[in-house]
Structure formats: structure tokens, C-alpha cells
């Protein structure tokens, strides 16, 4: 039977957020509000050394002086930073040796998310560092990694166990005063992941973390630090799902990547925070600062699939400092209903013979607004820098918007920069062609969107690619008029 537009619409509207459930785990939550005492309390709670506490306080001081940025092409009610609880951790916090010891309720949550630990352990060979409301509760495969000298743990653990590494690198790529949210994160970050790959080591498995906001009214302030020492390689996956909540939740993470000489970091994200319901109520505010630094011959590759969040503000960037370094950015951003996304990248070419590639695919449906904002900067000493950018937008329905704001600044004559952007809709003839071949409209759209996003999907590691494809279909179901 033919699937009519009306039916499609109805189904979409009634489709609830698949991951919308709330785990009732007793949480240890701080009173709302932010002041120096809270910052100190967070630090104390995490049993941090003094230098870390001072660093947080310094960040807090910087943050107080800053104002929330307004340049992004998004409209939202600004969060009240004094109405947020800055720390929330599951109360039962024993160190687990095996999965049996883990709170069954928590395991259940993971099962619903489809990230059953044992399954992943067996099938995918992925070490998962699960962050649930800020505190890392399960770290697997640590032993295998330890044999290679790879450190993969929560950042609070790293602060205690490897202070010299954390001290040396934290805040070097994203300084405390970088922007409003980075400063806030630096002051109050609750937990996150830390990864160090020693010289010449190729990490044998994909490292992966799932973030998840659980407790109502808590902000999530993750801090990720990945260091790839000379000649090493790591592929890092980050996935996000959040349960359904009516009030807006704030997520202000900072991710810093450091690729030393000849190292390579591949960082893939699937972001599926709660996007709000069809009236645009609720949803997560995702204000993230992600940046990587490339030394000589190093390579950093960002791949992201953004389908969630009510408001996204995110620009994974590469500073191509060393000669011959490479930066890549592959992104799919899907917005539906009242979602707003302002995302893109920055490629700062400082070294000679640096290369960067930007492929950005934006898909807007419903009443959403999707913006690409990017900067390609070639400094005067960056001889023979090369950039290729491509931004394609796909519009579905006439109530959404697609915007492009590419900034291109070249100060060297040997630079070669190309930028292309196109905006279009799914062609009626394309759908007709599929229909004619017996493929119904909904499947046809999935097919076309898949083809449109293929260049980016191909860059994702296997396990993620499957999930991402599914996510694309789910978030766009029935959105075509």
C-alpha cells in the first residue's frame, strides 16, 4: 500500500524520542548555582591536586568576565547559569572489576541504548569508557591497552595518576579564555576521557566513550584530552544519547586533541542528544569546543554525525602548526522540527605544505534551521597550503532554512583554496524514478539522503556507520513534503 504524505507526517509527529527514558539511580547532586565554593567543592569531590583546583578557579575568574556569544545563527532562551547543578554523579560508586558488580539498573539503561557492554566486548572489540552523568563507571579492555602502554581512563583518574601529562597538555589547544563555554567548562568540568598513545604505537582497537545526560537539571561538562605521541595512531569514537526532558539541558564540552610529529588521530562523533519534541519544547543545548593541534606530518580527522540537540553550536577545528600536516572535517548535520544547528569547522594553516579538506552535508527538515560556519585561514608563512571545501545543503519542505557562512582568509600567494556550496531539494524526478522501480517514497528518500551523505558516512568506523545510517533515517522519517 502506498505510503501517503499525511501518514508520514502523522508518524513523525507521534514518534517519540526513542531513547527517552529516565534511569532512577540515586544521584549525588550539588545545590544549583555557580560560585567559587562550588568550583572548589567539585575539585575536592574529585580529590584533585591543588594545581588543578587553582586552574579551575582561574578559569572561573575568566568566565565571570566573559559574556555569552551571540554571533551564531541560532535563537534560544539563554540558560540561567545559576539554576544549574554543576555536579551530579551516580551515588553508588564502587570500582567494578567485572560487569556483574555493576548496578543492574544501570546495565539496563545501557541495554536500552543498545550499547550492551558484554556484546560490544565480544563482537566489536571496542573498549568502552562509559560516562554516565559525569563519572566513569566502567572501563573495559584497560588491560589490553595497558600492555601497549596506552593510557585510556577518565580524566579525573588521569589527573591523579598522570598529572605530568595532564598538566603539560590541558588547555594548550583550547585555552581557558578561548570562549565563554570553554571557560565555563574549564572551571566546572566534572569528568571526561583521557587518552595517551605512546611513541610509535598503533592503538589496536577503536576507543570509544558514550556520554549521557541523566539527572534532570544537571549540566554536562565533559572534558576530553587525547594525546597521540610521535608516530602513533588512534581512532576515537564518541557517541551521545540523552533521555527525554522538558527543560533545556546544557552540554558544554571541551575536546582537545594533540597529534605530535607523524601521529594520526581520527575522532568520530555521533551526536544524538534529545532534540526536543515536535513543538520545539525541551532538548539539549549543545555548546561544544573541539580543537586539534597537528605537529609535523601529523593528521587529525574529525567526522561527525549530528542529529540531536535542540541547539547545536560546534566547530571541530584543526590547527595545522607543523609542516606537511593534514586536517580533515567530514560532517553530516540533520535538523528536524524546531532544531537549530550552527556547525562547521576552522582550519588554521600555519605550517608549510599543510592540507585540509572540508566536506559538510546539511539536511534540514520541518521548521529547523541549519547553518554551516567555517573558517579557512592561510597565514603568510604557510607556503603551498591547500584547502578544498564543499558544503552541500538539502532542504525538505519550505519551512526550514539552510545557511552557509564560510570565511576564507588567505595571506600567502601560494595558497590554493577552493570552496563550493550548493543548496537544493530532493528532486521529484529522483523520487519518481524510485517509485517507478517499486521503491516507496519513504524508502526512496532514505536512499537519496544516504547517497547525499555517503562521502561522510564512508569516513565513519564500521560500527558507527551502521548506527549513523539508522539515525539519519529515524530523524528524517516522514519529513518530506
Amino acid at each position: 500500500m502506498a505510503y501517503t504524505e499525511e501518514e508520514l507526517k502523522k508518524e513523525l509527529e507521534t514518534k517519540e524520542y526513542e531513547y527517552g527514558f529516565y534511569t532512577d539511580i540515586e544521584s549525588d547532586t550539588f545545590p544549583n548555582g555557580l560560585n567559587e565554593e562550588i568550583v572548589i567543592a567539585i575539585s575536592k569531590k574529585k580529590e584533585e591536586p591543588e594545581w588543578m583546583t587553582l586552574w579551575r578557579l582561574e578559569s572561573f575568574k575568566i568566565w565571570k568576565e566573559m559574556v555569552e556569544p551571540e554571533w551564531a545563527n541560532v535563537r534560544y532562551e539563554k540558560p540561567d547559569f545559576q539554576a544549574i547543578s554543576y555536579y551530579s554523579a551516580p551515588n553508588k560508586k564502587p570500582k567494578y572489576n567485572s560487569l556483574d558488580e555493576v548496578d543492574p539498573e544501570l546495565l539496563d539503561t545501557f541495554k536500552k541504548l543498545g550499547i550492551s557492554l558484554d556484546e560490544q566486548k565480544k563482537l566489536a572489540g571496542v573498549a568502552v569508557d562509559i560516562v554516565m552523568d559525569s563519572v566513569s563507571v566502567a572501563t573495559t579492555f584497560k588491560k589490553t591497552l595497558a600492555e601497549k602502554g596506552i593510557i585510556f581512563c577518565s580524566i579525573s583518574e588521569a589527573i591523579k595518576e598522570h598529572p605530568e601529562l595532564v598538566k603539560k597538555y590541558i588547555g594548550t589547544v583550547v585555552p581557558q579564555k578561548d570562549n565563554f563555554y570553554a571557560a565555563l567548562n574549564s572551571a566546572v568540568f566534572s569528568d571526561g576521557s583521557f587518552c595517551y598513545i605512546p611513541k610509535g604505537v598503533k592503538c589496536p582497537m577503536e576507543l570509544s566513550t558514550y556520554f549521557r545526560i541523566n539527572q534532570a537539571g544537571t549540566g554536562q561538562f565533559e572534558r576530553t584530552l587525547v594525546i597521540a605521541d610521535e608516530g602513533s595512531y588512534v581512532s576515537y569514537l564518541e557517541g551521545c544519547t540523552a533521555p527525554s526532558r522538558d527543560e533545556n539541558q546544557l552540554h558544554a564540552a571541551v575536546v582537545e586533541l594533540i597529534a605530535l610529529d607523524d601521529a594520526e588521530i581520527k575522532y568520530s562523533t555521533v551526536q544524538n542528544w534529545f532534540p526536543g519534541n515536535k513543538e520545539g519544547k525541551g532538548g539539549v543545548y549543545n555548546f561544544v569546543t573541539k580543537r586539534g593541534l597537528c605537529e609535523k606530518n601529523a593528521k587529525i580527522s574529525w567526522t561527525q554525525v549530528e542529529t540531536g540537540s535542540a541547539v547545536t553550536w560546534k566547530y571541530p577545528s584543526c590547527i595545522l602548526k607543523g609542516d606537511n600536516s593534514i586536517g580533515e572535517f567530514y560532517s553530516i548535520a540533520v535538523t528536524n522540527n524546531y532544531q537549530q544547528a550552527d556547525t562547521g569547522t576552522k582550519m588554521i594553516h600555519l605550517g608549510k605544505n599543510t592540507r585540509s579538506t572540508i566536506i559538510s552535508k546539511g539536511i534540514s527538515a520541518g521548521k529547523s534551521q541549519n547553518s554551516y560556519r567555517g573558517l579557512v585561514q592561510v597565514n603568510s608563512r604557510a607556503e603551498n597550503a591547500r584547502n578544498f571545501s564543499q558544503c552541500d545543503s538539502l532542504l525538505m519542505g519550505n519551512e526550514c532554512g539552510a545557511h552557509t557562512f564560510p570565511y576564507i582568509e588567505a595571506k600567502n600567494k601560494s595558497a590554493q583554496i577552493e570552496h563550493e556550496a550548493t543548496t537544493s531539494k530532493i528532486g521529484e524526478d529522483q523520487i519518481f524514478y524510485c517509485n517507478q522501480r517499486g521503491i516507496d517514497t519513504e524508502k526512496a528518500i532514505a536512499l537519496i539522503v544516504n547517497g547525499f551523505s555517503k562521502e561522510v558516512l564512508n569516513k565513519l568506523p564500521m560500527e558507527f556507520a551502521v548506527e549513523a545510517q539508522k539515525l539519519l533515517e529515524i530523524s528524517l522519517e516522514g519529513s518530506v513534503g
Binding site: 570565511y407 582568509e409 543548496t423
Partner: protein
């Protein structure tokens, strides 16, 4: 006293010299208030991120030139398109020169803003058009509106085509050490009317000149307006050109901007498509060196369905020159079936030259074809090698290739004599001896 204060305090003196009972008086007073509130744009504003007006504001410009100057036609002949017969509206230091001009009221009006603003017979048109499409928010436009008094006024009635192209030329004689000019032009093409305009600003000495010009163009149904801006001024002259174009159904407006000279040039070119089947074309060639700065800001606002816009800007930047291109295309929700194309190609010739470009799309309609492309690069090594292998020295080969790069924007120039002129200007600028006649 800084320039802003000086301008604001001069406003009273200016008002003494014009008719205050005129309804335009209210528009002026309103505008000076807006300018006073906002002041000159700073680099903190997104639209002025790459262009600073700080150095200009430090110069002590005279706002009202003290004495009238006379120019001999033979001295300035070369600045006119003298190969063909044209209507001419000429200003010397901001004052109309009847001696150099050739205006007309024969079927069409090619005359002066000052008479249009003051004579009752034009009142009806001024009421309908004056300051209607110009931005009410832009502070430099407000500044111009506040001091609007003189400029070109062109009115082409229904189904009329003037006999010859119209030249608008502003000379600065250098009688003042530093001069601020604020010409205000109003150009109206009624239904099916057609016209060609060439605009030029020329400083005759190395004294500082700062021109803040506003032009409003109204193209009614099926009207055709070709507008050519020749910007080849001395390197002590700065120009801020604000052009606002209102297009009704079926009209076609083509604006060509040739930026070769000037110290600081900023072009704000704004198209508003208030009708269906509108065609808007913007083309530009920028070839600059030294410390020159050229900033092109274009806006095409697609408000109605079934319209097209084409943009093609090429730039060659040498020495310490800075180029900026910011092209914005907005497609409204109801503007379905819009075709909007934008192309910006740049060549940096020197290590110290800079180009900042930002092609920007804001699209709210789904059934549209919008694309933009932007490149920054060098000359094709293989093409260079090919020419060299045919015995053309490297320097000439490079120049030839650059000439070819810039030249193809000229294809759409519809005045053959002007095309030859611009071709020669490009060749001179790039030091190419073409060795053939154009």
C-alpha cells in the same frame, strides 16, 4: 575633533544652506540622529570585520568646499568616454559644473538632484522614491542622507530609452587639503524603460578625498538598467559606494564594478527583488597593488519567486593589497524556483597580499538552485609552460594569463567603446603589451 563630531556639528550649518521647509528636511534630521547614535562602523561589526575606517577618521576633511573651481575640458577629456557622444552630469568638488555637463529634459530627465529636491514639479517623484530603498539602519547611508543635496537625478518614463549613455563624473581638484564628498543619486526607470550609466570618481591631485556616495535605483516592470562603475582613482582617494536597487517584475539590472585604483574602496551593492522573473547581475574585476584595499559587499534579497541572480567577481592582488569579498544571498520562503549563482575567483600575486572572502547563503525556500564557488589560487602552471614553450617570456606569459583571467568578466559589457577602455586599463595595470587591437 574627530570626524564624527565634526560632521554632526556641521549639520546645522548645512541646514542653513538648504530649504528647511522641504519635506526632505525631516528625512535629513532623522538621518543625522541615526548617524550620531551609531557613528562610523568599526571592525567589531561583522560587515566591517576586514575593513577599517580608522585612518580615514583621523584626517581633517573639509565638508563644504570653499571656492568653486573651473576645469578645462581638454584637461579632463581623457576621463570621459569621449569616443562616443554621451549625456554628462559632472561635478567638480561636489559642485555641479554646467560647463562640462550635458543634461537633458527632452522626453527623459537627466539632471540634478538639487533641482529634483527643490522644484515642485518633481515633488511627487521625490515623495515616492527618495530614501525609500536605501537602508535606514546603515550609518554611512544615514550620514549621506543627512547631507543629501547634490548628485545625479535620472528619470526615464515608460517605454523611453535615452538617445545615448549617461556619464556621471565627480572630479576633485585638490583645492582643499582634504575633501569629503557625499553625492546622492536617484535613478528611476519606469516600465519598459532602458538606460546605460557610467559612473566615475576622479581626483586630480594627490590630496586626500573621501567619497561617501549613495545611489538608489528603481527599475519598474521590464525595465533594463546597465550600470558601470569605473573605480580607477588616485591612491589618496577613498570611496564608499552604497548602491540600493529595487527591481520590479521582469526587470533586469546589471552592475559592473571595475576597481583598479583608490586607497580604500568599499562597495555595498544591494539588490532587492520585489517582483517575479527578475534578473540581477553583478560583475566585478579588481586589480590592485601597493597598499590598496578593495572591499566588495553584495546582497541579493530574493523576495519573490522565479527570479535569478548572477554574481561573478574576479580579483588579482599584488604587493600589500587587501581584497575582501562578502556576497550574501537571502532566499525568502516564498521565493521558490530561485536560481542564484555566485562565483568569486582570486589570485594572489605577492606574499604580502591578503584576500578575505565570505560567500554567504541564507536560504528559507526548498525549491531553489543556489550555488557559490570561491577559489584562491595561482596561475595554471601548465598554461604558463605552454605559453613559454611558444616563445613568450615568463613575465609576459604571466601577464597574459592574468589578463585572460580578468577579461572574461567584460563579455557582458554592452558599450563596445567602454569595453575597449576597460580592456586597455586592465592591460596597463598588468603591464601587458597586447600586440593586437581590441
Amino acid at each position: 575633533m574627530d570626524l564624527k563630531e565634526k560632521l554632526v556639528s556641521s549639520f546645522l550649518a548645512f541646514e542653513n544652506g538648504v530649504d528647511v521647509d522641504n519635506p526632505v528636511h525631516d528625512i535629513r534630521s532623522e538621518a543625522i540622529k541615526k548617524f550620531e547614535a551609531k557613528g562610523f562602523p568599526t571592525k567589531k561589526e561583522e560587515a566591517w570585520k576586514y575593513t577599517s575606517l580608522n585612518t580615514l577618521q583621523k584626517i581633517d576633511f573639509s565638508i563644504f568646499p570653499k571656492k568653486e573651481s573651473n576645469l578645462e575640458y581638454r584637461d579632463v577629456k581623457k576621463y570621459f568616454l569621449h569616443e562616443i557622444d554621451t549625456f554628462k552630469i559632472v561635478f567638480v568638488d561636489g559642485v555641479y559644473s554646467s560647463f562640462l555637463s550635458e543634461t537633458t529634459h527632452d522626453g527623459v530627465d537627466v539632471c540634478l538632484m538639487s533641482s529634483a529636491l527643490n522644484k515642485p514639479m518633481y515633488k511627487q517623484i521625490i515623495d515616492v522614491y527618495f530614501n525609500k530603498i536605501a537602508s535606514q539602519e546603515d550609518s554611512l547611508t544615514s550620514l549621506n542622507t543627512a547631507f543629501s543635496k547634490e548628485g545625479a537625478y535620472i528619470y526615464i518614463p515608460k517605454n523611453k530609452i535615452p538617445k545615448k549613455p549617461i556619464e556621471i563624473i565627480h572630479f576633485a581638484t585638490g583645492n582643499e587639503a582634504a575633501l569629503l564628498l557625499q553625492p546622492r543619486n536617484l535613478i528611476i526607470a519606469e516600465e519598459n524603460a532602458e538606460m546605460q550609466i557610467i559612473e566615475r570618481h576622479q581626483s586630480l591631485t594627490s590630496n586626500e578625498v573621501f567619497t561617501n556616495s549613495v545611489t538608489e535605483i528603481f527599475a519598474a516592470k521590464n525595465a533594463i538598467v546597465d550600470y558601470y562603475k569605473v573605480q580607477n582613482d588616485c591612491t589618496t582617494a577613498s570611496l564608499i559606494d552604497n548602491t540600493y536597487i529595487d527591481q520590479k517584475g521582469g526587470s533586469a539590472v546589471n552592475v559592473h564594478t571595475f576597481s583598479f585604483g583608490g586607497k580604500l574602496t568599499r562597495n555595498n551593492l544591494n539588490f532587492y527583488q520585489n517582483g517575479e522573473h527578475v534578473d540581477s547581475t553583478m560583475k566585478g574585476v579588481t586589480i590592485i597593488e601597493g597598499k590598496q584595499h578593495v572591499d566588495h559587499h553584495t546582497l541579493v534579497h530574493h523576495i519573490e519567486p522565479n527570479c535569478e541572480s548572477h554574481q561573478d567577481y574576479k580579483g588579482i592582488y599584488g604587493e600589500n593589497a587587501t581584497g575582501v569579498f562578502n556576497g550574501k544571498i537571502i532566499v525568502e520562503k516564498i521565493a521558490q524556483k530561485t536560481n542564484a549563482f555566485q562565483q568569486n575567483n582570486n589570485i594572489l600575486v605577492s606574499d604580502k597580499a591578503t584576500i578575505n572572502t565570505k560567500p554567504q547563503l541564507e536560504i528559507f525556500a526548498d525549491d531553489v538552485k543556489c550555488s557559490h564557488g570561491c577559489t584562491i589560487g595561482q596561475l595554471d602552471e601548465e598554461a604558463l609552460f605552454y605559453l613559454q614553450s611558444r616563445g613568450i617570456p615568463k613575465k609576459e606569459a604571466r601577464a597574459l594569463l592574468m589578463y585572460a583571467f580578468a577579461n572574461n568578466v567584460l563579455e557582458s559589457v554592452r558599450i563596445p567603446e567602454l569595453k575597449v577602455r576597460i580592456n586597455k586599463l586592465i592591460a596597463n595595470k598588468l603591464e601587458v603589451r597586447l600586440g593586437f587591437d581590441l
